[in-house]
């Protein structure tokens, strides 16, 4: 399952691109090619455990969910 905060966009406030690029809705910025592997849960990466931004966001916005993850 890919990260629920991953989007693919053509543009943000700063840049506009010919192709859609991975975009993090939490950080509100485009994601580097390297980091996009984590967002997409490619290879052995999992956004729930490997993305510090996702983890911090969930801990702050959805503490109940974060607490369940700690069980």
């Amino acid at each position: 399952m890919t990260c629920p905060f991953l989007e693919y966009r053509h543009a943000d406030d700063e840049y506009e691109f010919d192709h859609e690029r991975p975009y993090c809705a939490v950080q509100e910025e485009f994601v580097s090619p390297m980091k996009a592997d984590i967002c997409n849960d490619r290879f052995d990466f999992e956004h729930e455990t490997d993305c510090e931004i996702y983890k911090a966001h969930v801990a702050e916005e959805e503490p109940e969910l974060a607490a369940q993850d700690d069980d």
Partner: protein, 277 residues
Amino acid sequence: MSYQDYLDREKLILTVATTGGIHGKDANPNLPEQPEEIARQVAACEDLGAAIVHVHGRDEHGENDPTRLQAVNDAIREQCEDIVIQNTTGGQSPYENRVQGIRTEPYPEMASLDMGPFNRGEHIITEHTRHNIKRLAREMHEKGIKPELEVFNNGHLNEVHRLIEEDILDPPYYINIIFGSGTFSMPTPRNVINMIDNLPEESIFNLLATGPNQLPLTTLGMIMGGHVRVGMEDNLYYRQGEQAESNAQLVERTVAIANWLGRDLATPAEAREMLDI
């Protein structure tokens, strides 16, 4: 190699790394990602004197995709005269993906061979076990592909010595010494000189340094008789606060420095001869 090689006016092999796998157009919109735009920038760099191009593949979103190496290789061959193609076998994906860099057709003349793992971000570590490094080295040897041995830190130089002792590599050993942040060697002139002092016999070194270290340390590499790699994979800025307009802009500056230092540039044919490709 040493300062004496500089005094002897050893020709300089200039490699350009246009794209890489770390940064995207969101970091610098001038970074080329798609095959045709990569090839256009490579052709401009070849015109300026680059002899080797280090190649990565990206998908339509700008994300890493080794299956696109074939398209990038094809576009470079179409748009360039004679530049030596060096495909990556690095990155954070599994071995099955990374080996695609030596399975394009025709085979590339060179490929990178990471000498060990390194860290990225908080959770990424590249999967470069000794077993996988040897598998790649053996396949390159079978196919006549010259490896560029990527020494990301001092310990990786131990690994080069180990492979030489195991008779897996053929001389001259082309060793890329890498300086930057994180698990790379710390970017200081003293560390550059120490690294050069510890190179094995029959080796030729290339120097790569990231970000603001690219300009000063590649210049030092030229003075120490080595070869250099520049480009937007390693450095997105021309100077502090000013993004690079193109790879050619970075190559042009390095060519100018080489000229001032009296290092004539090796053509692709001369680079092949020097590296026994």
